[in-house]
Structures are given as C-alpha cells and as structure tokens.
C-alpha cells in the first residue's frame, strides 16, 4: 500500500493511502504532475503541502474520504438534479455535530479547494437543508448573521420579490 503524506497549513503530517486521494481532483492532478505514481519516485519523501487546509479540517476530510473509498468520482461539471440530492444518513451524522459552526463551513471550503465533488455537493446540500421552511430572520438568528437592512430596504426587497401569496 502506497502512502502519500499531506501537510496541513499548521504543518501536521497526514500519511494517506494513495487510492483515497483519487477523490480529490486537486491532489490527483498534483500526484500525476509530480510523477508520484512512478515506482522510482519515493512518494513518501515528497509530501504534498496544503497551505489552505488546517490540520483538524484535513483530518475530517480524510475521515470522509475513507468512508467513501471506492465511490465513483464525478467528473466535469456538476449536473445533478439539485432537487433530488439526498444526504445519506452517515454523511448527515458526520456533518451534524458541527453544522452551525465554522467547522462545517471550513470543511465545505476545503472540499471546494481540494475539488472533492461528492463532498462539496453533500455538504452544500446539508447547509441548504438547514434553511428549509425558515424565514430570513430565523436564518439570521440561527447562523448569527446581523440584520444590515433598514426597514425601507426590507420593504424594497419584499417588493423586488413580489410573489403574492
């Protein structure tokens, strides 16, 4: 089993199975470009720095990739039917503990940076699920977003989106 070392922004080393990294478009491209699959190259001696991902986030990403080992990797643009995406139970449980905190958002940003399409799709869907059936003020409260609109602006928005009930 070939291991490749990923280095997080806070300089923690994570040795990861080569196979798992196929899920990340960004890392896969690096591996191919650096010829790390070549038998003459000492892959372990050439760690891959990920200056945009913190250690605790990278750990979560690796956990997720381990669970999804062998899943088909999506290529090209995401043409899913957005209405039909369902977050599987395992992923839901995996995301939930940090759902409203910065951890889940960091994981989502990391998925985007590392180009792990399935993780990005599911974690975005999980976030969008938290908005279901909620009003603007409820969402503000849950996610701790200050209201920056004046009453006049709120009225203007209401007009702009003039959907009569």
């Amino acid at each position: 089993m070939v291991l490749i070392t990923l280095v997080s922004s806070d300089e923690q080393n994570f040795p990861v199975e080569r196979e798992l990294l196929k899920q990340s478009g960004t890392i896969e491209t690096l591996i191919v470009n650096m010829n790390l699959d070549d038998e003459d190259t000492d892959a372990a001696a050439m760690p891959i720095p990920l200056p945009n991902v913190k250690g605790d986030v990278l750990e979560k990403v690796i956990q997720w990739m381990e669970h999804h080992k062998g899943d088909p990797v999506k290529e090209g643009d995401n043409e899913d039917n957005n209405a039909e995406i369902v977050v599987p139970q395992w992923d839901d449980d995996f995301f939930k503990p940090a759902m409203y905190g910065s951890k889940h958002l960091e994981l989502t940003v990391a998925a985007s940076y590392l180009d792990i399409k399935n993780l990005l799709t599911l974690s975005c869907k999980a976030i969008s699920n938290t908005f279901k059936g909620k009003t603007g003020p409820q969402i503000r409260e849950e996610w701790g977003v200050p209201n920056e609109f004046t009453p006049e602006e709120e009225e203007a928005i209401r007009k702009e989106n003039e959907w009569s009930e």
Binding site: N78, N81, N82, A83, I85, Y100, G101, S102, L105, E106, T108, V109, S112, L120, T121, C124, K125, I127, S128, F131, K132, G133, K134, T135, G136, I139, R140, W143, G144, V145, P146, N147, E148, F149, E154, I157, R158, N161, E162, W163, S164, E165
Partner: protein, 248 residues
C-alpha cells in the same frame, strides 16, 4: 455560534451559489432576505425550480411563474438580461404556452425554451387527453422541425406531440426515430402529424432495407436497433406514429 458569524458571511461566492441552487424557490427568497450579499447572490444564481411556468403570448407576451402558493410575472418591459438570468438553468414541472406568437413574444419564448428544463409541456391544448404528457396544438403551424426535435431532446420517458397542423417533415421524424432507437433515454414518442409527413415517412421506412414491416399490425422494426415505429389512423382520421425504443 458567534464564531460561525464571520465564516458564514465570508463563504466564497461559488460555494454560496451552490447552496442557493439546492433550495426551492420559496426558501431561496427567504435566504435572499438574510443580507445584501445573499440577496445579490440569489439574483446571480440560476437553477430556479418552479411548479408551473405559463407563457401567455398575448399583448406582446408575458410570463407567469408559480412555485407553491407564490407567483411572479414578467412582461415585455422586463429587461431581457434580468429575464434570462432569472430562468438560467431553471426547471419546472409544467410549462404551458398559449396564445399567438409575434416578434416580441417569440423572442421571450426563445430565451425561455433555451434555458428552462421541463417535465411536462402544454401548448394551447385543445384535444387534451389524460395520458398525454406533451400536448401540442397549433393552427398557426408554429411547430416546425427544429422546435419538434428541440422539444424531444428536452424530454424523457413517454412524450406525446399532438400537432396535426404542423409542418413537421419526414426528415424530422427520421431524426426522432434515431434518437428513440438508441434507447438510452428510454424515450417513447407518440406524434400526431399531418397526413403528408405521415405518408412520406411511412414510404421511406417501407423502402428502407434496415426496417422490417409487419403488415398485420402496421409496425416497422429496425433490423439492427430493434426499435419499433407503429403507424395508424385514429378514429377521427388522425395520423399517429408511435416510436418505441428497443425492448430488452
């Protein structure tokens, strides 16, 4: 909770837009009212989902959009940019087109058709029958080959095109039968067309070496593809062609 404040607001736009496009229209509007940034992002994100989009080609054309209990209207004075952004990659359960087309409304319709995906299409339905997913009726012979093929490429499953006064030619029928023959989209097409197109296409298949004709049931079968085309006249002398993908 306080820690997440900055993070949620500083989510990169492309991620925020991915989140927005996964919401239905009502939830999207609520999210858009959270703050200025999400309001702008919502405007820029396509992928809106509707229950019903109605295009009325009267008075220069206007469009009514319905999602749940909410609805919104666009008319000929709506900026074209705003209109195409709104419908970019949109989907609707039903798209209905009625009325008479003129230059202005045709342009709006063109933009709409190029952007929106639909499950069900109704165009000025007169002879509506319950089993029909797509029904077409037009005295103005507004449906031509291009539109016919375009519509079929946008639908899947069982599709009915009912346009006895159309100008659909045998070439378009042949193209559609090719699409059906591939079988990958499980498309089944039932079209009611003008007698002229019906007879010409019948002749073409009849003299074509790669189709077998069974005179008992009036069905052509592709020798290689195994797809079938059934030609018959309905009671009221309506000419029907049913095309079915290869049976497994």
């Amino acid at each position: 909770m306080s820690q997440s404040t900055t993070s949620f607001l500083s989510l990169p736009s492309e991620i925020a837009m991915q989140i927005i496009e996964k919401l239905d229209q009502k939830d999207r509007m609520n999210l858009a009212s959270v703050n200025k940034r999400f309001f702008k992002l919502d405007m820029m994100t396509g992928h809106r989902r509707f229950d019903f989009v109605q295009f009325k080609a009267e008075n220069g054309g206007f469009i009514e959009v319905e999602s749940g209990t909410k609805h919104q209207k666009f008319n000929r004075f709506t900026m074209i940019d705003k209109f195409s952004t709104f419908f970019n990659k949109a989907t609707t359960k039903t798209l209905s087109i009625t009325g008479r087309l003129e230059v202005m409304s045709e342009r709006m319709l063109q933009i709409l058709m190029n952007n929106i995906e639909f499950d069900k299409l109704i165009i000025d339905v007169v002879n509506y029958k319950s089993h029909r997913i797509i029904a077409f009726f037009s005295d103005e012979s507004f449906i031509d080959d291009d539109l016919f093929i375009h519509l079929l490429s946008k639908t899947s499953g069982r599709t009915v095109i009912d346009c006895p006064n159309s100008t659909i030619t045998k070439a378009a029928l042949a193209t559609v039968f090719e699409i059906v023959s591939i079988g990958s989209t499980k498309k089944e097409v039932i079209s009611c067309v003008k007698e002229d197109g019906f007879l010409r296409y019948f002749q073409e298949l009849y003299y074509h070496p790669i189709y077998e004709y069974n005179p008992v049931d009036g069905v052509f079968t592709g020798i290689y593809s195994r797809a079938t085309a059934w030609f018959y006249k309905e009671d009221d002398d309506r000419m029907i062609i049913e095309m079915r993908p290869p049976q497994k």
